[in-house]
């Protein structure tokens, strides 16, 4: 009896000790239709190079990254994790989790493949640790044109026209502005308020934590703009996810939504320019952008290293990036893409980047600054602060980082 018990125990211990092996998987949260299609493009190239594709999918970035951290500490990390590059590149590198990609970068001449700004988002202390694959432009205004036509409103091109259109739409019985109940959705909308109040350089200064810009009257104006559009949202917004919110515009229950390019997939059955439209903030010639890509995770395992070499080669293939970007409705991060490859919203993003000004989006900031911004925006939006109090709260939060 006792003997049998110990045999079972030893067998269990041996089983547990034996489960450490290289997983060579990619951890990501690209689950929306366009995102999954983009991932399939990278997967195809990776497999054609001889890699064996394995993935771990999560609903949110934080889940995918939390799993990566835990698995890193347990000695069995994924080979790469998808996410916004910039602030988080430094987060991973400072934590000692980043793989050094210098050798692959040198043999592939990565420094020539990217503009220096984009390359910087994948480097830490001059060393390549993450690979940018897309440039996401975030400040989009999606409009259901059918709803505007029914209310007799033309597409607004200035902030004042936009505000004027809101009351007409409200009287017509539709939700003028669709917004959900999560801090990042509120902060994505707030981008447009900052741009209405001060334009590209003001936005860039605010996002770099410049206390003069944050404490300025323009910031008060940004919060006042935000309070204005709050009057034109529906009461079902509490706790609502972005897909449900986007669906209000798709289905004609709401007129406008401020959202990133990932919302494009929802309008697949409608004709852009006729039934709906995607426009970068119409009241400022600015594009707020960030690099999206993969952080490579340090591993001593040779299977991991070989998988990383192949995956890095697949990610830095221009043709693959262009195809994946087209599938996701965004732009490739590498230089040299043929503009004819893009269509619809992506063309507009390329035009704006060539003719207008580019500012770094808040999602590429360090987690401290990003949190201060999101905390204040959500507190203002859901509370009863005056615009001046909103400005003061943001100033206090940034000073407190």
């Amino acid at each position: 009896m006792i003997k049998r018990y110990f045999v079972a125990m030893v067998a269990t211990a041996m089983f547990l000790a034996n489960t450490s092996y290289a997983e060579t998987d990619v951890s990501h949260n690209w689950n929306a239709e366009g995102e999954a299609a983009a991932l399939a493009v990278f997967k195809a190239t990776y497999e054609s190079l001889g890699g064996t594709w394995k993935e771990s999918a999560f609903p949110k970035t934080e889940d995918s990254q939390a799993s990566t951290k835990t698995r890193f500490l347990g000695g069995n990390p994924p080979m790469a994790v998808q996410g916004a590059l910039g602030g988080s590149t430094a987060d991973f590198a400072n934590a000692g989790m980043s793989a050094d990609l210098s050798a692959y970068a040198a043999s592939g001449n990565w420094d020539d493949l990217y503009t220096s700004g984009i390359a910087g988002s994948g480097k830490h202390d001059g060393k390549w640790v993450s690979i940018p694959v897309f440039v996401d432009t975030v400040n989009w205004l999606f409009t259901n044109k059918g709803v505007l036509d029914a209310a007799g409103v033309g597409e607004p091109t200035t902030w004042n026209d936009f505000v004027d259109s809101l009351s007409t739409l409200k009287n017509a019985g539709v939700i003028p502005v669709a917004i959900g109940g999560e801090d990042w959705q509120e902060t994505v909308a707030f981008d447009h308020m900052i741009l209405a109040a001060g334009g590209a350089s003001f936005y860039e200064n605010v996002m770099s934590g410049d206390l003069d810009a944050i404490g300025s009257d323009a910031m008060v104006q940004a919060f006042a703009n935000f309070a204005t559009i709050r009057e034109f949202t529906d009461e079902g917004k509490a706790g609502r996810s972005w897909n449900d919110t986007n669906n209000l515009v798709v289905s004609g229950k709401a007129a406008y939504i401020f959202m990133g390019p990932w919302a494009t997939g929802g309008y697949a059955d409608m004709e852009e320019g006729k039934d709906w439209s995607c426009r970068l903030t119409p009241w400022s010639n600015t594009v707020t952008a960030l690099a999206d890509g993969f952080h490579f995770i340090k591993s001593d395992n040779s299977a991991d290293k070989e998988a990383q070499r192949l995956f890095a080669a697949a990610l830095t293939d221009l043709d693959t990036q262009v195809k994946a970007a087209a599938a996701k409705g965004t732009l490739p991060a590498m230089k040299g893409a043929d503009p004819a490859e893009f269509s619809g919203c992506s063309t507009k993003a390329v035009d704006r980047m060539n003719s207008g000004e580019t500012a770094t989006h808040w999602n590429a900031l360090s987690s401290g600054l990003k949190s201060a911004l999101k905390d204040t925006v959500t507190a203002f939006w859901n509370g009863d602060m005056s615009p001046a109090e909103g400005r003061d709260a943001l100033l206090a939060a940034v000073k407190d980082i």
């Binding site: 009461e235 706790g239 507190a379 939006w381």
Partner: protein, 291 residues
């Protein structure tokens, strides 16, 4: 004698893994969390001690105080709501013993649901655009307003209400079982003395069920500490951070903000606060039972 020793050994050996796992995963991890709250752990855990810095930042944060206050609003309503409704319904069922089984099944049913499903179901009911408000308005009462989830003041009460709905059944079943164990002679004596039924319960039956009460309070207070899923499903902590509970706050700092130290400090304060309230009561009850 040899058989007896062998039997004892087998029992000890069989229980040893459970005990070791409990000590390691509950007390070991608890101690690790407390330790991390004194270190500069950020994106990954670190062992460099920095004293009370995380606690200072925690206590100077308006968001934390709102969240911490919510725990007491939620905990108060949850504990007293579950116990009050649970004991009353149990007494009513105790009086009609022939139908008790049917009702007991009905009332116990919610506890078989996970908290995330409970939260989701109530989210559907309370959502102003699709739930109860929409339904009543569609009946013709255009001015009817019920937007608890969108109200910064009241959202936390919606969370507490849904949690009470979920867990009251547990209290009913515990107390009903206890009441069935009361000596029927006591009831006869009370009836002869013409003592009202409610008085019999408050003065005779309930004082005998103190250990049942203790069990219920312990089970419920640990539900208060770990409340996470119901908030996520019902309000996501919103509007803004209005209905956030400490577990959600800790999660945000652990996994979204890469600030493991601050998240640990929040977790420690959360558990210690509940302990400070519940432990003296437990000690008092255990001591008076020994005497």
């Amino acid at each position: 004698m040899k058989g007896y020793l062998q039997q004892r050994f087998v029992i000890a050996a069989a229980l040893a893994p459970t005990v070791l796992i409990a000590v390691y995963f509950i007390w070991g991890f608890g101690a690790a969390t407390a330790y991390l709250s004194f270190t500069d752990s950020g994106f990954l855990p670190s062992t460099k001690l920095i004293g009370l810095l995380h606690y200072q930042k925690l206590f100077s944060s308006a968001r934390w105080w709102n969240t911490y206050g919510n725990m007491f609003i939620f905990g108060g309503i949850y504990l007293f709501g579950c116990l009050g409704i649970g004991i009353t319904v149990a007494a009513m069922l105790d009086q009609r013993s022939h139908s008790a089984i049917v009702y007991r099944t009905i009332y116990l049913y919610p506890i078989a649901m996970s908290l995330i499903i409970t939260g989701l179901a109530w989210q559907w009911v309370l959502s102003p655009t699709t739930g109860l408000q929409h339904f009543v308005r569609s009946l013709g009462f255009e001015n009817f307003g019920l937007n608890i989830l969108g109200s910064s003041e009241f959202a936390i009460y919606a969370v507490a209400g849904a949690a009470v709905w979920h867990s009251t059944g547990l209290v009913i079943v515990l107390f009903l079982a206890g009441m069935k164990g009361i000596d029927t002679d006591l009831w006869r004596a009370a009836r002869i003395d013409r003592i009202p039924i409610w008085r019999t319960y408050t003065s005779i039956v309930l004082p005998q069920l103190r250990s049942v009460l203790m069990t219920a309070i312990v089970l419920l207070s640990f539900n208060v500490v770990r409340s996470f899923d119901i908030v996520v499903a019902l309000t996501k902590g919103g509007p803004g951070r209005a209905s956030e509970l400490p577990a959600l706050y800790a999660y945000d700092f652990y996994f979204v903000r890469g600030n493991i130290g601050r998240g640990s400090a929040a977790a420690v304060i959360m558990v210690v606060s509940i302990m400070v309230i519940v432990l003296p009561y437990l000690l008092y009850e255990l001591r008076s039972r020994k005497q």
